[in-house]
Every structure is written in structure tokens, then in C-alpha cells.
């Protein structure tokens, strides 16, 4: 297996707050990896650093062997490294189908491609993916009119529409009702197996992440605390202390 994403000694400060300190993680192609940690441990900051939302203070990030530390968000997205947001972000005044259409990959986009219309294949794929997340009947509704859980599903479908090589998911199950969660886990696994998308998932729901991830990284206070298989992480005293507060 080849290395998909390699984060080497990344640090990021906001004023006096050390959000990430000397963090190194490594994700192989085709893996599903979890990222856990108490609130404020620096998980989302790490995501933001990886996708180029803000520059890192130190360290380097490579994606498929390519240096991306200094690249900006749209450029990294076009390389196939995509993220979803903790506070779900969709295009509220556009219909679900339009949300899907605008998510088409922009990889080889020349000037003329901007003025092209959508291919039938693209429309079919958008419908398929909306079917996949169970939103097909609502495809002509505006994104903003969907419930929060449905918006999460729409955002996930949009991410798949973009045909990423790797997807960073920031709490994909937060706010989704428990019966839907099982369906979502199943869909994440299918996206991983059938579409070959490598996943890095931030998750607070332990049941979800223990079922989903093959490996887990745990952050605390901006630093990497532990790494290992779900069962090992579950029994790691340092992780338990971080969550429950060590004496």
C-alpha cells in the first residue's frame, strides 16, 4: 500500500493558544482512520491545516507524495483531497440537484469548461448519489429547506460527487438520528470499498468510530496522545484519562 496522506511534525498556534503541537500522522491508501479527542484538542485545526485553510507554523504535509503544505484550499480540493464541515455547509438557496451539480470535480477545468452545460452522465450520477444517501425524492427542494441531518447527508453526497481520492469528514454523524447513523456508517464503508476513497474521520460517537475505523489517532491538548487499533485505543489508560480527566 502506498501512503496517501503524511503529516509531519505540524504545529499551529493561534495567538498564545497552541492548537496543534508537533503532530505526525500517516494514512495509507484505502484506509479508514479515526481522529478522536476531547473538545478543544485540535482535531478541526488539524483538518484546516491539512486542507490549506490556514498556513501551518511548522511541519509539512504531503498528499500522494506531493507537497501540499503551502497550497490553498481550492487547489488542494482539485488534487482530490476534500473535507466536509462540522457545521454542515451546503448551498442553501440552490436545489439539492444544483448542489450536486456544482460539486462536479473541477480538476481539468479550462476556461471553456466553465461555460459548458452538464452532461447527462453527470446528471445521472447526481441522481444516483442522492438515491445512495436517501434524498432522491427531495432533489428539487432547496438545500436550506432540508433538516440538519438531511443536510449532512447532502453534504456527504456532494463530497462523493467531487470524486475525491481522500475525504476528511468532520463529525459526520453529529445531529443525525440513531437509526440513520447505521445507514451512514454503511454508506461510508461502501464509499471506501466500492469507490476506493480513503477516509479520515473526526468523531465523538465512540460506537461509530470503533465500528468504522481500522486505526485511530487520539489528540489531547493539541498533541498526539495515542495511536492504534480501536480495541487498543479503547483500553488505553491515557485516552481514558484524557476523556474523563486524569487525577
Amino acid at each position: 500500500m502506498s501512503v496517501m496522506l503524511e503529516v509531519t511534525s505540524v504545529s499551529k498556534n493561534f495567538g498564545g493558544v497552541v492548537a496543534n503541537r508537533d503532530i505526525s500522522i500517516r494514512i495509507e491508501q484505502g484506509e479508514i482512520v479515526g481522529l478522536i479527542g476531547p473538545n478543544g484538542s485540535g482535531k478541526t485545526t488539524l483538518f484546516n491545516s491539512i486542507v490549506g485553510y490556514h498556513p501551518v507554523d511548522a511541519g509539512s504535509i504531503t498528499f500522494e507524495g506531493r507537497e501540499i503544505t503551502r497550497l490553498r484550499v481550492p487547489k488542494i480540493a482539485r488534487l482530490g483531497l476534500l473535507r466536509t464541515f462540522q457545521q454542515t455547509r451546503i448551498f442553501g438557496k440552490m436545489t439539492c440537484m444544483e448542489n450536486m451539480a456544482v460539486s462536479l470535480p473541477n480538476r481539468q477545468e479550462g476556461l471553456m469548461a466553465a461555460f459548458s452545460r452538464l452532461s447527462t452522465a453527470a446528471i445521472d450520477r447526481a441522481e444516483e448519489l442522492l438515491e445512495f444517501v436517501g434524498l432522491h425524492s427531495k432533489r428539487h427542494l432547496r438545500g436550506g429547506d432540508l433538516s440538519f441531518g438531511q443536510q449532512k447527508l447532502l453534504e456527504f453526497a456532494m463530497a462523493l460527487m467531487n470524486e475525491p481520492r481522500m475525504l476528511l469528514l468532520d463529525e459526520p454523524t453529529a445531529g443525525i438520528n440513531p437509526t440513520l447513523i447505521n445507514g451512514l456508517i454503511d454508506r461510508l464503508q461502501r464509499a471506501n470499498q466500492q469507490l476506493g476513497i480513503t477516509l479520515l474521520v473526526i468523531e465523538h460517537n465512540m460506537r461509530v468510530i470503533m465500528n468504522l475505523a481500522e486505526r485511530i489517532y487520539c489528540l489531547a491538548h493539541g498533541q498526539l496522545l495515542a495511536e492504534g487499533e480501536p480495541s487498543a485505543i479503547q483500553n488505553d489508560q491515557r485516552v481514558i484519562d484524557a476523556y474523563l480527566g486524569a487525577s
Binding site: F91, A114, M158
Partner: protein, 362 residues
């Protein structure tokens, strides 16, 4: 015609019929109501600036108070190109352009006008690209405030530029002939030029909105960070949108300047407090980012404005102000926005019970 109705097809049958009716009215207008030809000409100018403003403010969500600059730049670019080849510009403006030393024949006049309009479009586009690269990085209210100063800046710059007449302005070349017949001829020609320009801009913009360009600028309106996170080249789309606005506004400024004959920087070319705000009002009134909104806004605004200016002279700005307040309170999303909120199914927003049923009906 398309699979899921996602392919935005602006010109379906009903729309096309309404558009044809409007076109027919547009063509018949100056013959049916010959006395109102000038008002009708200004109406099409209003339609054009309304739709080009909507590209930025409505479709892309960038509320620009600076679009008037492209209009004024076009006006002056055209003046220079129309005058300079035929006479010495310095002497022409030094004489105040009055008494019109410049007498052209029809061929010269229209050659000058054609080249002037072209130069106006190109300079409007270029100014949009140059200014845009500087301030399109600003978002939301910051962008609006940034553009607010543009027209004032441009007006002051041109006022200090003696070659084009400074603050007292410049006079466009007169239409050949001094008879009443030639005056009527000019009125009619400019009516159809403005009508054609508005129609062209409208068609081109609606076609653009049906492509990925339209989706991308809508995405920028709804959530620019998300659009970037999806890999959309937002800077490029924003600049293109403004450049297209700038191009049409530039040509529009050229035609409007020739219609007025005498133009000056503060009150006509870079009239930020007048036309510059009216274009925003028209779109807000009709409904931002909608197909018909800018047109409806232009009709209502132009008609009420003409009525206020005719029957409430002296109080016209008070009446206009009251109208604006009423609109904002009762139709915050504009007239089409109100319809969209109350009758979403008219706009194709509906839940489909089953997949097959939905596909059979469309």
C-alpha cells in the same frame, strides 16, 4: 427536456412566449407611442443595468455600488473615440464643446459610434478586471463599502482631467442634420440600439446562468468558503462575472451618453447617488437572483419614478424614499422572491413521492 430538471433551461415554452410578447411590444413601442420614445429608451437602459447588477448582487451575492463606474468609463471612452479622430480633442473641450464645431456626415458618425461603443465595452471590462482583482477579495458588507467609494473616486478623477472637459463635462458629437426629421431619426435609432443591447445582455446572461458558470456564482453567493472547499476557482468566476457586467455597462454608457449629448462626471457619468443606487433598488424591488425580478423591478421603478417626477415634482425624492421603505418592509426578498417563498412549486421545488413517478411527469 432534461433528466431531473437540473439542467437549467431558462427558455422553456411559456417563458419564450412571454419573451416574444415583450419583444413585440418593444418593437412596436416607439411607433405606437412615439411621444414616449425617449422614456422607452431609458426604460431599456434601466433593464440592462438592472440585469447586469443582478449578475453581481443577485446571482453572486456581491452587492456592488460601484457598477456605475463601468457605465461612466464607457461613456467617456466612447466620447474620446468618437471625437478624437475627427478633431483636436484639446481644442474641442477647451471650447466647451458648445456651438459644436464638430459636424460629421452619417458615415463618420456611425463609424465613430460603433468604435466608441466597442471601446466603451472593452474599457468597462478592463476596469472591472483591474478593480476586481483588488477588491473582489472583500466579502459581504466589506465589499459593498469598498465599492461605494469607487464612483466618487472616478467622478473626482475625471473632474480633474481637463482633456475630457474636467468637471464641466464633454459634449458628444451631434447627430448629422438639424431638421426635426433627423432628430426623430436619431431618437428612433437609439431606441432600437438600447433595446437590442438590453435584449442581447439579457439573453447572454440567462444562457450563462444555465451553464456551470451560473452554478458556480450561485455557490459563491450561498457559501463562498464551501465553494472553495469544493475546488471551485472562485476568484476567476468572480472576476468574470464583474467583467461581463462591466462590458455591457460600458456599451450602455456609450449609448446613454450619446442620447444625452452632454455628459459630465458627477451628475451623469459617475452618478453614484442616482443611477448607481437605482440599479440596486430595481433588483431588490423585483427580486434578487431571479429570472424576471430585474425586469419587473425596472418596469415598476421606471414607471413610478417618471410619475413621481411628473406629478410630485419637488417631493419626488420623498415619494421615492417612502416607496423604498414600503418595498423593504413588505417585500424584503423582492416581488419574485416573495412568490418563490409562497409558491415554491411554481419554481419546481417539490417533493416527489417516488422516483418513477417523478421521472414520468418531467
Amino acid at each position: 427536456m432534461s433528466a431531473g430538471g437540473i439542467q437549467r433551461d431558462p427558455f422553456n415554452r411559456t417563458t419564450l412566449l412571454i419573451l416574444l410578447a415583450i419583444a413585440a411590444i418593444g418593437i412596436a413601442g416607439p411607433f405606437v407611442a412615439a411621444d414616449f420614445t425617449k422614456q422607452l429608451t431609458i426604460f431599456w437602459v434601466m433593464v440592462l443595468i438592472s440585469y447586469t447588477w443582478d449578475t453581481m448582487g443577485g446571482q453572486m451575492g456581491y452587492n456592488s455600488f460601484g457598477n456605475i463606474v463601468f457605465f461612466g468609463v464607457g461613456m467617456y471612452a466612447s466620447a474620446i473615440v468618437q471625437i478624437a479622430p475627427y478633431t483636436d480633442l484639446t481644442a474641442y473641450t477647451a471650447a466647451g464643446g458648445q456651438g459644436s464645431a464638430l459636424v460629421l456626415d452619417l458615415g463618420q458618425y456611425f463609424l465613430g459610434l460603433g468604435l466608441g461603443a466597442l471601446a466603451a465595452g472593452v474599457s468597462g471590462l478592463l476596469v472591472a478586471v483591474i478593480v476586481g482583482s483588488g477588491i473582489l477579495g472583500l466579502r459581504g458588507h466589506y465589499f459593498a463599502i469598498g465599492t461605494l467609494a469607487l464612483s466618487i473616486f472616478a467622478a473626482e478623477m475625471v473632474s480633474g482631467w481637463e482633456l475630457v472637459g474636467g468637471g464641466s463635462g464633454i459634449t458628444m458629437p451631434g447627430y448629422p442634420g438639424t431638421t426635426i426629421a433627423s432628430e426623430q431619426e436619431k431618437t428612433l435609432i437609439f431606441y432600437f440600439l438600447c433595446f437590442a443591447l438590453a435584449g442581447t445582455a439579457f439573453s447572454l446572461l440567462q444562457w450563462l446562468y444555465s451553464t456551470r458558470f451560473g452554478l458556480a456564482i450561485n455557490a459563491i453567493r450561498d457559501d463562498e468558503d464551501k465553494a472553495e472547499a469544493m475546488g471551485i476557482k472562485t476568484a476567476r468566476y468572480k472576476t468574470m462575472a464583474w467583467a461581463i457586467s462591466g462590458f455591457f455597462l460600458g456599451i450602455c454608457g456609450a449609448l446613454y451618453g450619446n442620447l444625452l449629448i452632454h455628459v459630465d462626471p458627477r451628475d451623469t457619468a459617475f452618478d453614484g447617488a442616482g443611477l448607481g443606487v437605482w440599479m440596486v433598488l430595481m433588483v431588490v424591488l423585483g427580486g434578487k437572483g431571479t429570472f424576471w425580478g430585474p425586469l419587473i423591478g425596472a418596469v415598476l421603478f421606471h414607471v413610478t419614478k417618471e410619475l413621481f417626477w411628473s406629478y410630485l415634482l419637488g417631493l419626488q425624492y420623498i415619494a421615492l424614499g417612502i416607496l423604498i421603505v414600503v418595498i423593504v418592509v413588505f417585500f424584503p426578498e423582492g416581488i419574485m422572491g416573495w412568490f418563490r417563498a409562497h409558491y415554491p412549486h411554481w419554481f419546481g421545488e417539490k417533493v416527489e413521492p417516488a422516483k418513477e413517478a417523478g421521472e414520468a411527469s418531467s
